[in-house]
Subunit: 226 residues, 2 copies
């Protein structure tokens, strides 16, 4: 699988995402016409992610968001009931998509070596396709309210668990070395995150997403393969 093939397989339309957000947040969205909601949620989220790739969510004012999204300050409050709710909304949806796509891809194989490759590639490709989402989810997690922070941490650990399970499977089947599984999973995760946290660096150096994914697989297999 290459990045281009991945993008064809995994369709993540903005309309679909907005639709899900609408379902989750009917109560706090005051606008009734679904089309309007979906259209404007897309504009709001696009604008937020764009602004927050340059400055923090806190530093983004409602005026900034209004200017970038083309909606007035007052109109924005028809789509969320507080700035903090907007933060939570984007974070929750981001985690949901990431987790769903990743799990969907991994179950496609039952061979541990293949599973590990798929998991690494899917994560990197997904974080490339939704770079702003991933960056935002990572960097703004600490500004969430306490209970939402807990959910973010759980989600992070769940993703890691997915890798732990794959590696354990490989050790049982004696295709992987008996390494410290938790540490192996941790450093794989660290490598995956580097792709979207330092995207500026890799772009400057002309490292393609396929190059990077292959290299991370190479590293993982250097540690694990017998």
């Amino acid at each position: 699988m290459t990045y281009n093939e991945f993008k064809k397989i995994v369709k993540i339309s903005k309309e679909e995402i907005s639709g899900q957000i609408l379902e989750r947040n009917r109560d706090s969205i005051k606008v009734k016409k679904e089309e309007k909601v979906i259209e404007n949620l897309i504009r709001i989220i696009d604008a937020t992610l764009k602004i927050c790739s340059k400055k923090s969510f806190q530093a983004m004012s409602i005026r900034d968001l209004s200017a970038e999204s083309g909606l007035s300050g007052g109109a924005l409050y028809s789509y969320f009931s507080s700035k903090e709710e907007l933060l939570v909304l984007i974070q929750t949806q981001g985690r949901e998509i990431a987790n769903r796509v990743l799990v969907d891809q991994v179950v496609k194989s039952s061979d541990p070596v293949e599973k590990l490759r798929i998991a690494i590639k899917s994560h990197i490709y997904l974080s490339e396709a939704m770079r702003n989402w991933f960056y935002f989810t990572y960097i703004e997690a600490r500004n969430l309210p306490k209970n939402e922070q807990k959910l973010a941490i759980e989600s992070e650990l769940q993703t890691e668990k997915l890798f732990i399970d794959i590696i354990n499977g490989g050790i049982e089947e004696k295709v992987f070395r008996d390494e410290n599984v938790v540490l192996v999973a941790s450093v794989i995760k660290a490598m995956l995150q580097d792709w979207y946290l330092k995207s500026w660096k890799y772009r400057n150096r002309k490292v393609s997403v396929d190059d990077y994914a292959d290299f991370v697989i190479h590293v993982a297999e250097s540690i694990l393969l017998i």
Copy 2:
């Protein structure tokens, strides 16, 4: 070298750090008595790092800092001329210390394998000894003014260059495999950073700093050693 040995060798006293900050910032510090400056800079920086391990620098108000440091809002402005300057001041000093200690350690050996081990251990141990500094420097870099952001990026690339040079040395001496040097250095860096970015995770799992450093060395050598 273990973490405890490292701490004995590398003395990083708060007084020394504050003294250096005073030297760098004589102009904007209005208080004349050196002792006072050093004592209060320590309080201010400790308070800032403590608060910012829980919320962002932006979210920290001068009133918060006043309460935590025990100095009045007015008094604080005798030690820096704006909140932004305080951010820059801490970041600059943090980078300076990190770079100096790392370079000092690495020159101690001329063997690539040994050099790589020292570089990895020093970085992880240093980031453990100054965890709040490192976390703050990483997480708040994006809130710096444009020109300071450039310096932060340069510093990041310089650290990576240090690893690149070590690896290239090893390849020339034919003790390391001829891998993609830039990518190897990148993922090593990613693993190093994970230690202080996810310290909560490793502490919960009772992974010691020595365990982690040894493991990162193990991974690096799995990729590189012939």
